[in-house]
Amino acid sequence: MAKEGQSGNPAVAEVEAPVIGPGHTYASVTDKISSIVLTRKTPRAWWIGFTITFLLTMLLLYSIGNLLVRGVGLWGVNVPVGWGFDIINFVWWIGIGHAGTLISAILLLLRQEWRTSINRFAEAMTLFAVANAALYPLMHMGRPWLAYWLLPYPNTMGTWPQPRSPLVWDVFAVSTYALVSFLFWFIGLIPDLATLRDRAKNRFVKIVYGILAMGWRGSAIHWQRYETAYLLLAGLATPLVVSVHTVVSFDFSIGIIPGWHATIFPPYFVAGAIYAGFAMVLTLTIPIRSYYGLEDFITMRHVDNMGKILLATGLIVAYGYMMETFMAWYSGSKYEQYMILNRMQGPYKTLYWALIVCNVVVPQLLWSQRVRRNLIALWIISLVVGVGMWLERFIIVVVSLHRDFLPSAWGMYRPTAWDWSTYIGTLGFFLALLFLFIRFLPMISIFEMRTLVPHPAGKARH
């Protein structure tokens, strides 16, 4: 391979930006990443950030406690809008998780080695996002202690979950997703946990990492089994990238409500999930990269590639909006047509047009490489996309439900203070978990980064 590349051919010799900064050795990579966990003093900013997000987690617990005591009536949901913030935020959070699985499983199988420095972080983000997402349907049940009724098991009540309902498919899709994501993340951590165990000076820390490392010795047979297990898990996780959000899209499209019943929903939801997920990865990695000085590991090439994926998935989402609008007219169905008009001119029109600006207009800036390589611009765009994807779920859930076939059954939905406190609480919980993750676990895979270091004996890595 390398020989062909050097055959004096300028088109190939064109050097791509590297995936790791120059001058690194195995030791410097290990030092740099493990020191954040083991030796460096915990920065003041970490304490401030963690305190704030911890308090917000307490707000979440307070909101949930109140909900359990007083009931779902605290929320703004009512007839006709029976699904409100609970489903909006469920879909939003679970969508965010998808970027992690895509980066860790699909990009691994596609041999995209630039994924190495962001996969650990993105996988952690997936786990925390799924944890938040799963809270919402549980809370919406009103009696979360009876959640096990959703599982099909022989019981004396003579009940069985309705297998035709996508809500039941969701139970399996989301729990499988959470389990596989956790296994994938944890197995990926094992060699690094062993590194931390070996490097830790404090005896207590050594024991904790030692237990988590599950006896990893780094022998050849360990590595061989590890590689096999990791590839198998990647294969298992790949269909999950598509299946989970497809099932979520069926929650809507299986019904016949205008605005929900559209055949494009499955691919459009999956693209939207990856869109929101990459936006969140960028929102988080850009500040962390600068703060911890990780520019050598998360290079401009990573940032540029993520900007491109953001643009591509954003265009697919825009295609979805376009097809919905065109087909609403083309169908000739007055309900479909009214649904689109109501989005554009109805009581929630401000949110609809904000959605179009956030998800369709602003991301077009990403066509320019200058914008993709401007960290501040990219960070702002990633925030805008995050907001846009939340608005999209609001429009789909609320605007479709609030005015369906019968004008006499129309109504408005307004979230209550409890809706907001729960949502803000989950944001805090998500960030608090991420703060703990950054502090106690290596946020970049140490051993995988070592494979990117140029081999000391020669220039080629192969």
Binding site: N9, P10, H261, I264
Partner: protein, 380 residues
């Protein structure tokens, strides 16, 4: 390319051209007796071959954007396929003669008596339809022209900025491809049953086209594999990657088809379900079942095996099968619009793909022999 190969290409080209011309002539004779059937068969066969031309056009742009050695070894094949788009534009003309025979909305008396068709008339009318077709072809031909021209320039000069320019064109090019193919599929096929609609329809066509294209390219690669520049560079990893790509498009096709079916079946709405009722009753239902088995299950299982993917002969056999079921799938999508009573296969349905295919393959071969089989850029 050496003289022997050119002669061989010319021989192949003359043969397919002759076969195509004979088949089309027989069909044209049949048109005198059954003009309706002529246009139906023509549309179906035309869709199959233009699908491969458009798929070539899309995948070459995709490859400019993402790179990879799998694409370098098939790039000339893809570029030649995209280069046939002007021929496909000419082959559209016979279709235009039969618009009122094919499309209900092109018959004024039918539109007058149908409220829904009157509603759609601002979109579904003959002048606008022709204008849109002209626009699609203008976009496709112009983009394919520049892609091929710059690729030639890259071969000659090997300047890196040509590569950048190709990438720069391919991003917006893919966006234009997505939009034009979507609306072309609505215009040419969905509007055969003008009361029915589905928002995923364009994606269904794009995936089908990509799948047919990869299958076609694998078969072509197999035919060329013993030739000099190819036999030096082709490695099992190339076949493995192409096999995986075919598997990916196969799964995508199944995913999109199943999603459309599940959503329409469970909604069971009177404006949507007739499309499936027609296609799932009688002989059409058996054809749907066969599609499930041979368009998904069998090739899926075969393509999971690394052994099959790394051997070009086996892979080409699978790809040949996939091309055949693509034809059946298109038949199942197009024809029930005319034969709601039950499965009906006319002899022109069999002969027409050979006729248009002969002309298309001749154009393809002519494009292919103009340049070396491998781009000078290298990176295989």
């Amino acid at each position: 390319m050496n003289g022997g190969a050119v002669a061989e290409f010319d021989r192949f080209r003359r043969r397919v051209l002759a076969a195509g011309a004979v088949a089309l002539a027989v069909c044209a004779a049949g048109a005198a007796g059954n003009p309706d059937q002529f246009f139906r068969s023509y549309l179906f066969a035309y869709l199959f071959w233009i699908g491969i031309a458009l798929g070539c056009f899309a995948i070459v742009m995709l490859h400019h954007l993402v790179g990879g050695s799998w694409g370098v070894v098939i790039r000339r094949l893809l570029e030649s396929g995209a280069g046939t788009l002007p021929v496909m534009a000419v082959l559209t003309l016979p279709l235009l003669a039969g618009l009122p025979r094919l499309y209900v909305w092109a018959r004024p008396e039918a539109v007058a008596g149908d409220e829904l068709l009157r509603h759609k008339a601002p979109y579904l009318n003959v002048p606008f339809f022709l204008g849109r077709l002209a626009f699609y072809f203008a976009v496709w031909i112009a983009l394919a022209y520049w892609l091929n021209k710059w690729s030639d320039e890259q071969d000659r000069t090997l300047r890196p900025e040509v590569k950048t320019r190709l990438q720069w064109l391919s991003g917006p090019g893919l966006v234009l491809y997505g939009l034009t193919v979507t609306f072309a599929s609505v215009d040419l096929v969905m509007s055969l049953e003008p009361h029915w609609f589905s928002t995923i329809y364009g994606i269904l066509f794009m995936t089908g086209e990509a799948l047919a294209t990869i299958a076609f390219v694998i078969v072509a690669l197999w035919l060329l594999a013993d030739r000099k520049p190819m036999s030096d560079v082709l490695r099992p990893t190339h076949f493995h990657d192409l096999g995986n790509l075919m598997l990916a498009f196969l799964m995508l096709w199944a995913y999109v088809s199943f999603s459309q079916f599940l959503i329409i079946w469970s909604g069971n709405l009177p404006e949507e379900i007739p499309w499936y009722l027609r296609r799932l009753s009688g002989g059409w239902g058996w054809m749907a079942a066969a599609l499930l088995v041979f368009h998904f299950v069998v090739p899926f299982v075969l393509l999971l095996s690394r052994y099959n993917k790394q051997r070009l002969r086996i892979l080409a056999a699978i790809a040949g099968g996939v091309l055949l079921v693509r034809l059946v799938d298109l038949f199942w999508i197009v024809m029930p619009a005319f034969h709601s009573g039950g499965l009906a296969v006319h002899w022109m349905d069999v002969l027409m793909p050979v006729g248009i295919g002969g002309l298309w393959l001749a154009a393809f071969t002519w494009q292919l022999k103009r340049r070396p089989l491998l781009p000078a850029e290298g990176g295989y």
